[in-house]
């Protein structure tokens, strides 16, 4: 688990003037922010506003054209992601980070059992005891409310909501400190969404996870995040505490976004 007392006053992830352009098209420009341990940041905006590009740069899957991202490693040193070797980056990605895809099929191995899906990261860091791997996988399945009796079923036999929960378990099994989520509730029906959000909120609190959640759904942002960044045309146009931004939006675009939610 995260050591809350010593590390929490130092930033976990620092983005400085990040930009990505494809020729003359600027997908994302001039994004700077700081993320602290245990903090959940939501990035909201309409399709094409640069949210996903930003997330890919933050998670070192895409090299930025300008600016840089730094991450505080477990040894407490803040390092630029661009300076990490590929081996280190990939190691980070499967130990200290999690990445929850919108489509679970991208984040899971659909043909192997749920137990192996959860256990893969453990085996990748050298766990070599079948009994322990299986036990850990089984306890994680229960934590994400999947019946442990289904541990040997392949995720292709699971429902959409179960797949998404399995994907979360697979990511959290190595106790990462930072999780990236790309539209984690996209494509799920409303009641399943509500359960999933509830689960994610309790896991984030329990584990003291930091998370960056990309979503176009303001309800997700409100339920999960502490802070919100509103993006439009590749720029951050408004940022602040979630309640502040959503209850009292300053920018006209944010006002439009907020007012476009149907009243309950």
């Amino acid at each position: 688990m995260v050591d809350m007392n010593s590390a929490s006053d130092q930033p976990l992830l620092v983005a400085e003037e990040l930009g990505k352009s494809y020729g003359r098209l600027a997908a994302c420009r001039d994004v700077s922010f700081v993320l602290y341990p245990g903090e959940v940041l939501a990035i909201v905006g309409e399709s094409g506003s640069g949210k996903s590009t930003l997330l890919q740069m933050l998670s070192a899957q895409l090299a930025p054209s300008a600016g840089r991202v730094s991450y505080r490693m477990r040894d407490g040193v803040l390092r630029s992601l661009a300076d990490l070797g590929e081996a280190e980056r990939r190691f980070l990605f499967r130990t200290d980070w999690g990445y929850v895809h919108q489509d679970p099929a991208q984040g899971l191995r659909m043909a192997v059992s749920a137990g192996a899906n959860v256990g893969e990261r453990l085996m990748a860091i050298g766990w070599n005891n079948y009994g322990r791997i299986r036990q850990t996988a089984s306890s994680w399945l229960q934590r994400v409310e999947i019946d442990a009796a289904r541990i040997d079923d392949a995720p292709r036999t699971y429902s959409g909501g179960m797949r998404q929960r399995l994907q979360i378990a697979r990511n959290l099994v190595t106790e990462p400190r930072l999780v990236f989520m790309d539209e984690p509730t996209g494509g799920l029906d409303v009641s399943v969404q509500a359960r999933l959000l509830d689960l994610m909120r309790s896991l984030v609190n329990e584990l003291g996870l930091a998370a960056i959640v990309v979503t176009h759904d303001l309800a997700v942002a409100r339920l999960l995040s502490h802070r919100v960044m509103v993006m439009k045309e590749g720029r951050v146009i408004e940022t602040g505490l979630t309640d502040q931004v959503l209850d009292d939006p300053r920018e006209p675009y944010t006002q439009l976004l907020v007012s476009s939610i149907l009243p309950p």
Binding site: R109, A116, G119, M123, A124, N128, N129, Y130
Partner: protein, 294 residues
């Protein structure tokens, strides 16, 4: 004039040099799959085009060649490859493991211990051990480069979860020289321990996939497993019905349509050698009358 119009051992010298360079690189990096410009051979893919090219590249006029297919010296595949080199290189051929200097094999390692100076050439259909777990070749190469082999254990995990034990019985993944995970070609896992610290040089050729890899003599080869599910050899629990051997890998032979079967050594040379030395199995009361074939 009907003089042969091809070079010694069929391949031209430039091709052989190219293959030898790949072999040298493979020996320098044990277990690493070296790409090479695989040629078309006068036989279909899947019949050992990779093994034949490796053998052609290393064969010299004084070599003695043995070819086995599933342990047997007298199946179509083994006989035709042996004849191919007898014709194109004029080398001496044999069925005896001890006498051979180059042994080309499909799916077996001979029972008789190999010695220094011998070369074992494997025919490999699919060289990539991660293929069925990760279909992208770009990704598997990166995984090899960074020694990310967690996925290999996922396969073994699945076996145990499904069958209660590691049910992979052939092409059982090994780690070579504590670095690269390698597919030992579809040899039964019974043969895996023979690869470890073997005095002979082991070369692997995959013709269709255009890869060569190698295990130099006296290299550590460890079969992957779990602490609580260690690697075990597998064989039928019976002695050979012809020679009575208890320590050899057995083939199951169905003898009628009423469920009768017998188990015999898969390595024919080993079995015949034992019979010639007077060992008898339960189904071999009469002395073995056939002479050694060749």
């Amino acid at each position: 004039m009907n003089a042969p119009t091809y070079n010694f051992a069929y391949l031209d010298e430039q091709t052989k040099r190219m293959i030898r360079r790949a072999i040298l690189k493979a020996i320098a990096i044990p277990g690493y799959q070296v790409p090479f410009a695989s040629r078309e051979m006068p036989m279909p893919y899947g019949w050992g085009t990779g093994g034949v090219q490796v053998t052609a590249a290393i064969l010299g006029p004084h070599d003695v060649l043995k070819v086995i297919d599933q342990g047997s010296d007298d199946t179509t595949n083994a006989i035709s490859i042996r004849k191919f080199f007898a014709k194109t290189a004029g080398v001496e051929t044999t069925t005896s493991t001890e006498e051979a200097s180059v042994i080309q094999t499909r799916h077996r390692i001979p029972e008789a211990p190999l010695r220094e100076g011998q070369v074992l050439v494997f025919q490999v259909p699919i060289p990539e051990p991660l293929r069925f777990l990760e279909p992208r070749e770009t990704e598997t190469r990166r995984m090899h480069a960074l020694a990310e082999y967690g996925l290999m254990h996922v396969k073994l995990y699945e076996d145990i979860a499904r069958f209660g034990h590691i049910a992979t019985s052939y092409a059982y993944p090994v780690k070579v020289n504590a670095r690269y995970v390698m597919d030992p070609s579809p040899t039964p896992k019974f043969d895996n321990p023979k690869m470890d610290n073997c005095p002979a040089l082991q070369l692997f050729g995959a013709g269709r996939e255009k890869r060569i890899y190698a295990i130099p003599p006296y290299t550590s080869v460890v079969s992957l497993d779990f602490e609580d599910h260690p690697f075990t050899r597998y064989k039928f629990d019976a002695p050979c019905a012809l020679c009575g051997a208890e320590d050899s890998y057995l083939d199951e032979i169905v003898t009628d349509d009423k469920g009768s079967r017998m188990f015999v050594c898969s390595d024919t040379d080993y079995c015949e050698g034992r019979q010639a030395a007077g060992h008898r199995g339960v189904e071999n009361a009469a002395p073995h009358k056939e002479g050694a074939h060749g």
